[in-house]
Amino acid sequence: MACCNEHSRSELLRRGLAEAGRGLPAIEPGMPMPAGTGLDRRSFVARGLGLALAVYGGAALRPQVFDEGIAAAAAAAPQQKVLVSVFLDGGADSLSLLAPTGDPLYRQLRPRLALPPADGLAFTEDPSLSWHPSLAPLAQLHGEGKVNVMPGIGYDHPNQSHFTSRHFWEVGAADERLATGWLGRYLDRVGKPDNPLQGLSLDWSLQPSLATAKMPVAAVDAPDRYDFYARGVWGEVSERMVAAIGRLGALPTGGDPGLRAASDAARQSAQLYEQLTPFRPKDDRKTIVSPVPYPAGDDRFPRRLAGLAAMLAAGLPLRVVALSAPGGYDTHDNQAQELSDDLKLTADSLLAFQRDLEARGLADRVLVHVWTEFGRRAKENGSGGTDHGAAGTGFLIGSRVAGKMIGEFPGLAKLDEDGNLRATADFRGLYGAILEDWLGTDADAIIPGARKFARPKILR
């Protein structure tokens, strides 16, 4: 009974938070979707992709092959598990995301930046920690058992260069010369040569974790802005002109590889333009309609997540998706305000995304991994900010997660020799767990030295 008492006590705490009604109410799967929600699967697949595709690595293929490949992949694996990787750029301050308000050392190290004890929400798994107020939406989801927190995740011999540390996380190894992303290697292993959507970078360019050696992947920045404008051409003539790009690209090349590369690029671009028609704003018609509200404003992050949910709902064969959270987390000064604003938009958007997936009945298929390249120093600097540290905080969000911390909070009493938080979990072990338990593939083939790292339990 003792175990159950403790278990039920923490359960009570969680339910209490969930019922406090913060944020959006949980949506039961099976609820009917509001009318006019996005595009239905048939129209998506029939048109191919209604999105601007920058296809990396697929230039040798005809877009028709992509169309067929995408349709085939969608038909073959309708229940494909999806991983969404969200990057907090700059090294987010773990001690602010989850503040050790119960530790007197905290206020000594952070005289200006320490979170006032009343402000944060209690973190149910470790009462000495409080959530940053802007992370209330994550606290809500955590209360529902949908968040695994990694309070001290990193690696041995921490590197404090943004580019180097970020590179390690992206390639899944402490190796500066490795040129493929860990998710790229996953796709090289299980991906198809005719499905560029298997790896989708929701950005202007390819997120490095998706860099493959051979499989095509794609980058989508703004589906509603892919156009081919020419000065002094408009209307019907302009539409014909773009179609002519495709026809020029379909002319015989006589096997000349140079001509073929140029022709392929032309044809694919024309095809994408056509497939993009539903997303191009016409009059005031909105192109993506979500069943739940997302944070308003100009920022791309909520819009990209909304578009992603619509794509998944339409059955597009995505496997791994990568994007960056809004804002910058390299808070050497003015930390308090910047972090507050950036985290709020990020957390609000992630909550909306989770609710969107639940409304569309997709929540069981999607796992969101939130990561940053390192945490920050325990002691604040003299400018109201913090400098580069070592272990940081990460999250796994989704309906299927275990809902338990991975690695304990490292604590402020035993910092490493540089005065930074020690890592209580290794990112390579986490990657191994994601690859094996969520994506169902052999981690050893993808993460160098995978066996050396303890693999946490991440799912229920």
């Binding site: 260069s161 943004h162 580019f163 910058g328 390299d330 050497h332 000064d333 600097n381 003299g382 400018s383 900010g385």
Partner: protein, 121 residues
């Protein structure tokens, strides 16, 4: 007339930021490259008049730039903070003399992010 008066008043203080669409005529350029923890102008001196000062962040941390004449009482001109790989530009009207340049964040100036720019006749 009013704009001319503003320019003259500012010129007495050493430098004036030009309104965005001011006519500039002859223009000199200088680029300030910032890294940890250095601040290096692309040239040691520029000719007085309209000077386009460009700040480029080649470092890994946020930086900014302050430009101020060494003459007592002059007002500093602040450039906005830049993330790594960021850049920003301002065109200033500068009169001959010595100007101090530095990064105002944290202890960056003490660690070496400072330089002098000479404005010649």
């Amino acid at each position: 007339m009013r704009r001319l008066a503003i320019l003259i008043a500012a010129a007495i203080a050493g430098l004036a930021a030009l309104p965005a669409n001011a006519e500039t005529g002859m223009l000199s350029f200088v680029q300030i490259v910032e890294k940890e923890f250095t601040l290096t102008p692309s040239r040691p001196s520029v000719r007085a008049g309209s000077v386009s000062i460009e700040l480029v962040n080649f470092g890994m941390d946020t930086h900014d730039l302050v430009v101020k004449s060494v003459k007592a009482g002059s007002k500093p001109v602040r450039f906005k903070q830049l993330d790594p790989r960021g850049r920003t530009e301002r065109t200033l009207r500068m009169t001959p003399g010595r100007y101090s340049l530095w990064c105002s964040l944290s202890n960056h100036k003490a660690r070496g992010m400072r330089a002098t720019l000479i404005v010649t006749k």
